[in-house]
């Protein structure tokens, strides 16, 4: 029995009620071959979006920030106005905190996504010897992740190779984020950000958008290149399909794409309130686009979760129906045969 069929089997056998199904997902999650780790995905998205929200709203107000506070503003802590005051009195500091926080969070989220993507890829690929190789790799990675080390020269070699690959991917993703942050900053300036002032703030906004939208994609899918070999061509086409045609095909792609769209749209919408003549401190550049981007990211993440969940349920239902139908079809056949 090939391991790829295992989750399907388990699903097939335990598909009576929703609760049971969720329970059935959980053991599937622990297996490295989990194609759609629904429960774990839900919990990770929940934690991740909460932490992103925390980063945006609380991190800039931590005690470290007060080191940089002007002395005049001290001594007024505690009132609800202060929440806004600490967040808005120095937009640069706020932005830096959000960027730092999301940097850490995105690395975690992206590595989780990458694992999922690798699992998914391994899960869907079929063919005997290929599968065994990948299973071996997966087992190794799982061991690596859980901290257990197998001894042996080959193991060490494989592990080093794996680590090298991961590091290389991480390095490329970082590079992609940095490059796109510059591109985003230029785009933001083209959209009307000041040309000759507030450049650092604009850059931090670009960096934030790049971290939220590009980093996880670059780490999970690999950085697209202009090379002409098959792998880079496929990679490039995947990027184009995702980010230009906006048509994801797998749950992982949705989990990458929707938050990215949300980030960009949120940033775009966030620029609108700046124009109002309310003279509020939160209208300072670039607070509203930054918070718009963060909110868009969170909404996009949850949206991807919802869509993925619904599609998953739909697919399961579809499969059940098909199985039921095929079962029905086979039954009368039996009776017919008996009859004849």
């Amino acid at each position: 029995m090939s391991p790829t069929t295992q989750p399907q089997r388990s699903r097939k056998s335990q598909k009576q009620s929703g609760k049971e199904r969720e329970e059935s997902e959980r053991p599937a999650v622990q297996l490295p071959t989990a194609f759609f780790p629904f429960a774990r995905y839900t919990s990770v998205v929940g934690v991740h979006t909460s932490l992103i929200a925390f980063t945006a709203l609380f991190l800039p107000r931590t005690s470290l920030s007060s080191l940089f506070r002007s002395s005049a503003a001290n001594g007024q802590l505690g009132k609800p106005d202060d929440v806004l005051l600490t967040l808005t009195e120095n937009p640069l500091r706020t932005l830096a905190w959000i960027c730092a926080g999301s940097c850490v969070l995105q690395v975690w989220w992206a590595s989780w996504l990458r694992n999922w993507a690798l699992d998914a890829r391994a899960g869907v690929t079929e063919g005997a010897d290929d599968t065994t190789r990948r299973t071996e790799q997966k087992l190794l990675r799982e061991e690596w992740n859980s901290g257990r080390f197998a001894v042996g020269f080959i193991d060490i070699f494989v592990r080093c190779t794996l680590m090298y690959i991961v590091l290389q991917a991480f390095r490329m993703a970082c590079l992609a984020a940095v490059v796109t942050s510059v591109v985003f900053s230029i785009v933001i300036i083209l959209y009307g950000a000041p040309l000759n002032s507030h450049l650092l703030r604009t850059y931090l906004l670009g960096l934030l958008v790049a971290l939220l939208s590009v980093f996880s994609a670059a780490y999970t899918l690999g950085v697209p290149s202009l090379g002409s070999d098959t792998e880079s061509l496929v990679r490039r086409l995947t990027w184009i399909r995702l980010f230009a045609e906006l048509s994801p095909r797998t749950p992982v792609e949705r989990a990458i794409l929707y938050p990215a769209i949300g980030t960009v749209l949120g940033c775009w919408v966030g620029a609108i309130p700046i124009g109002l003549d309310w003279e509020r401190p939160w209208q300072a550049w670039p607070l509203t686009p930054a918070y718009g981007a963060v909110s868009g990211y969170i909404v996009g993440s949850l949206w991807a979760l919802a869509i993925n969940g619904v599609r998953q349920l739909y697919e399961i239902q579809l499969r059940e129906n098909r199985e039921a139908a095929s079962a029905k079809r086979s039954e009368p056949q039996h009776t017919k045969k008996k009859g004849t």
Binding site: L195, G275, D277
Partner: protein
């Protein structure tokens, strides 16, 4: 050249004009400011009364509402502003014969400038006072200030510098202390300045904090103290007048006609001499009372402009010519005898009659048509009445009411009719625009529509007439013409809508088909912030509008298309961003805006950069355009004649015109050279405009095509081969040359910085055309790939291909052109305010004002950018569209749709701004922000419609005729075209 399409566009234009006319008549109140001065002889008893006071202290506290000084404030009273400024009430109680408080009614609009005019001239200022000084704000009408000045009195002034702009010469220079009033953040500098010299202002506190604020109390307290000191220092011959120019609403704002905004306080005080006779037996009907909202009793009330005749007569001055106020009875009535009052009233009534007669004879006299009969009979009554005090008062009051009706009240009916017309016309335009994209046999269909507009306009005219007569007595101030025009417009619009939307459900499915930039742009006029920051909103929307093209660019199947799309979109974006740098800020944008647009009045010295680059840019622009034409090899024929020689010289000399203008006005070479400079620049300007209009236009008319036909010598046994270079862009390239002719005209009238902007915008436009062309190729290729038999698809004729929505014209391709037009308008130093009109451009051809040349040049300078870029819209349809099969039905259809599309865009903007200004007509900002934007939108729509007609009828019409002459007669032209296309 005249076609069904042209007829339909003209119908659209006519309906737009009707809509604008109806709405404007209802909304934009205008009045002719007469410049006559009452210069009667003071010794003549019919001129004025003998002076009761020699001097007057006239204190205006901005936004001093009646309840601030009322002895009987409304309950519950506020600790912040009631009974704080208590001196008037105290003195009135203690000395009722020397002090009197009135509840004054200031006429809306209660904006500061309009109230200053009202208080000093006694007239009813409207938002737009037409007169000889449309641009400036100084008051040229007769006024109290002017009468004082003419009488040789010295006028000291201290306070808000708005007064200095309206009376620049009247105040005694050594006793004048103006302070900048605009900075409402600064609560004290004006007041402290005035207190140093005399008196304060509430206004800023109100604007910033609203009346319910401790600062308000402190401010009123401070003023009460100042008043007490003033009263201390008053001498016997001096009359003290304290008034608020208008009230304020609960938030501290003013400008509209709300009850609190039109509640101002007025206090008159004479220190020793009796001012009023408490025993005076004044008939009750002469004394009006009004109850302040929430107050327990009614208080004696007057019209604020009644102050003007009253003070004039008290000071022994002639009443200002334009006055419509009536003398206040108490001030002239002593005991039981009314002789003095009757005398005053007679003088007053005669002056009002004189004014009305003069207005009746003026060019705007027809405004009084409806009221004139009643005015005449009221005057007859006043002359013959048994009780003159009664009848003459009735006459002056009637005159005021009649004028108020004309000048101060919105006509909601007309506003509604105008909006309905605009809305139905835009629906009709949209229906036709949409149908043209779907119907393959569109020409006969459009024929039907065009004849239908004519027929139904006739039916509408008749029914308008029929309806008008029974309705007239019930609906005020709607002329027969209004009914007729409305009837014609609405009937034909509905006929078109019904015909073009044959019970077809609108497909709501695709979200991408909603023109998001247009929706946002239209909605933005609901907010004053976005309206005055529109110059920043537009680049944002513009970049948003090309984002879908960039995304398509990434999906391009070939690297060449991808590179082209990405490169040209980036170039477009960079040009747009560079244009956005240039701005003349409007005052609401301060302090967040820096003026970067050089024009003599905003920045006095041009940035060296502009001076350095403008000539190379003007010279190089035609070669840049040639590079774009080279892409499609269409830099042949006419383009080869005009682009290397005529256009560079014309554009360069246009730049020199403005460089010389700067040299002349800044006297770089010293004053002696100015005559020579003037002569040179006039000659240069005439030369460039003459060359464009005579040489370029004639050449274009004669040989519009930019193609080259090469015939190879036939080799043995072979047919002769004819190669047409520039075939692929045979429609687009001549239109570009046609467009450049108008572009050069506008370029000549535009100042230096604006010329750079225009050049950038041209690059942006051409880049956008390339993007659109490539994106269409991408769509077509993708469609071909996805269809089951690509070869079959490619073999299809151009005609059927265009009706497929994938390659036909889309509204999203028109949107960037429309936005670019407005972007260039803002970039060339304009804003949606009257004060940014660049009057300088009136004098480039002549050194003095000449009609009709000078106004024409100003119009070209102001609306030229919008006109020119609307004129460019057929380029989207014709660029890189080969002219075969002939007649170019597909290109014609697309051109017509592009024209209707941009007209729709600007109609939508007009609707947005019209609805917002009608809806917010009581808003503080309506006359500063919303109404000017509406005016700009109306002018832009007219400019766009004219451009579209010129472009479609003359430009495209002439080109298709010329193309027909070359290709139409070709044997087997269609086969050749098909063969070429499938290659």
């Amino acid at each position: 050249m005249w076609s069904r399409g042209a007829q339909f566009i003209c119908w659209v234009f006519a309906v737009h004009l009707i809509g604008i006319w109806l709405f404007t008549r209802g909304f934009l109140l205008t009045r002719l400011a007469l410049s006559e001065v009452n210069s009667c002889d003071v010794s003549d008893p019919n001129c004025t009364l003998s002076p009761s006071y020699k001097r007057m202290v006239f204190l205006i506290i901005d936004a001093l509402r009646f309840d601030f000084i009322s002895p009987d404030p409304p309950l519950p009273s506020s600790p912040y502003y009631h009974n704080v400024l208590s001196l008037p009430a105290e003195l009135t109680k203690a000395q009722p014969d020397r002090s009197i408080i009135y509840y004054a009614f200031p006429d809306p609009p209660t904006t500061t400038l309009q109230r200053i005019k009202g208080i000093t001239t006694g007239s009813l200022p409207t938002f737009v006072d037409m007169g000889s000084n449309f641009g400036g704000s100084s008051i040229l009408e007769d006024s109290l200030i002017r009468q004082l000045y003419e009488a040789g009195k010295q006028i000291a002034f201290m306070g808000d510098d708005t007064w200095m702009s309206v009376f620049p010469t009247s105040f005694a220079p050594n006793m004048t202390f103006p302070y900048d009033s605009f900075n409402v953040e600064d609560l004290h500098s004006v007041d402290e300045g005035v207190i140093r010299h005399l008196l304060p202002l509430l206004h800023h506190v109100g604007h910033r904090l609203g009346p319910d604020h401790p600062t308000m109390q402190a401010k009123l307290q401070q003023m009460d103290n100042v008043l007490r000191e003033t009263v201390e220092l008053l001498d016997d011959d001096t009359l003290l007048v304290l008034l608020g120019d208008h009230g304020m609403d609960r938030k501290g704002d003013h400008g509209g006609d709300g009850e609190l905004e039109t509640s101002a306080g007025l206090w008159l005080y004479s220190k020793t001499r009796p001012l009023v006779d408490p025993q005076a037996d004044i008939p009750a009907h002469l004394l009006t009372n009004r109850t302040y909202p929430g107050a327990s009793t009614a208080h004696r009330s007057v019209q604020q402009i009644d102050l003007v005749p009253s003070l004039s007569l008290l000071l022994g001055l002639p009443i200002p010519f334009n006055n419509l106020g009536t003398v206040i009875p108490e001030l002239f009535w002593t005991g039981k005898q009314a002789t003095s009052f009757e005398h005053a009233l007679r003088t007053n009534a005669a002056q009002v009659k004189r004014y009305l007669d003069a207005y009746r004879l003026s060019p705007a006299g027809s405004e009084l048509d409806s009221a004139w009969k009643d005015i005449q009979s009221a005057w007859q009554g006043a002359m013959e009445g048994q009780v003159p005090a009664l009848t003459m008062n009735m006459f002056t009051r009637y005159a005021l009411e009649a004028c108020r009706m004309l000048w101060a009240q919105f006509n909601i009916t007309l506003i509604g009719l105008g909006l309905t017309t605009l809305l139905s016309s835009s629906l009709a335009t949209f229906a036709v625009y949409d149908s043209l994209g779907r119907i393959v046999q569109w020409e006969p269909w459009l024929d039907r529509i065009a004849s239908m507009t004519l027929r139904w306009s006739g039916i509408g005219t008749v029914s308008g007439l029929v309806v008008a007569f029974p309705l007239r007595p019930y609906v005020k101030d709607v002329a027969i013409f209004d009914y007729v025009a409305f009837g014609a417009a609405i009937a034909s619009s509905f006929a078109v809508i019904k015909q073009a939307l044959p019970a077809r459900r609108l497909e709501i499915g695709s979200i991408s088909s909603i023109p998001l930039p247009l929706v946002l742009h239209t909605l933005s006029f609901m907010s004053n912030s976005y309206t005055f920051w529109e110059d920043h909103v537009i680049p944002y929307l513009l970049l948003t509008s090309i984002a879908p093209f960039v995304l398509t660019g990434f999906t391009a199947p070939t690297p060449r298309l991808r590179t082209r799309i990405l490169f040209f979109s980036s170039l477009f974006a960079v040009c747009v961003r560079l244009i956005a740098i240039s701005t003349v800020c409007r005052e609401e944008q301060q302090p967040y805006c820096h003026v970067t647009f050089f024009s003599g009045s905003t920045i006095t010295t041009p940035p060296g950069l502009i001076l350095a680059i403008v000539v190379p840019i003007a010279f190089g622009l035609p070669s840049a355009i040639r590079q774009y034409l080279k892409i499609s090899k269409s830099d042949q024929g006419l383009a080869n004649i005009l682009l290397p020689t005529i256009f560079p010289s014309v554009l360069t000399s246009s730049s020199f015109v403005w460089i010389l203008e700067w040299m002349e006005s800044s006297e770089v070479l010293g004053p002696s050279c100015s005559g020579a400079l003037r002569l040179t620049r006039t000659t240069l300007a005439w030369l460039s405009i003459g060359t464009i209009l005579v040489v370029a236009l004639t050449l274009w008319w004669l040989i519009p095509l930019c193609i080259k036909v090469e015939t190879s010598e036939p080799a043995a046994n072979e047919r002769r081969e004819v190669t047409i270079i520039g075939f692929a862009n045979a429609l687009g390239s001549p239109y570009l040359i046609f467009w450049l002719i108008f572009f050069s005209l506008v370029f000549t009238t535009t100042q230096l910085a604006g010329q750079v902007i225009l050049a950038l915008a041209t690059v942006a436009l051409l880049s956008f055309l390339e993007v659109v062309d490539s994106v269409r190729d991408v769509r077509a290729l993708n469609l071909a790939f996805s269809s089951s038999k690509p070869s079959e698809f490619l073999a299809q004729s151009q005609e059927t291909r265009s009706t497929l929505s994938t390659v036909g014209l889309r509204f999203s391709e028109v949107t960037p052109i429309a936005l670019l037009a407005l972007q260039v308008f803002f970039g060339t130093g304009h804003q949606a305010v009257i004060s940014t009109i660049q009057w300088k451009s009136a004098f480039i051809l002549t050194s003095s004002l000449t009609y009709p040349l000078s106004p024409l040049l100003v119009i070209l300078n102001s609306l030229g950018p919008v006109f020119v870029f609307a004129l460019a819209v057929p380029l989207i349809a014709t660029w890189n569209t080969p002219p075969l099969p002939y007649p170019p039905s597909t290109a014609q259809n697309a051109t017509l749709r592009a024209c209707l599309g941009i007209s729709l865009y600007f109609t939508s903007l007009l609707l947005g701004s019209a609805i917002s200004s009608a809806w917010l007509r009581r808003h503080l900002m309506v006359w500063k922000v919303f109404a000017p934007r509406f005016m700009l939108a109306a002018l832009c729509l007219v400019a766009v419609d004219v451009a579209v007609i010129v472009g479609y009828v003359i430009g495209f019409g002439r080109i298709s005729v010329a193309v027909g002459r070359v290709f139409g007669s070709m044997p087997g032209a269609n086969d050749a075209a098909k063969a070429r296309k499938s290659q």
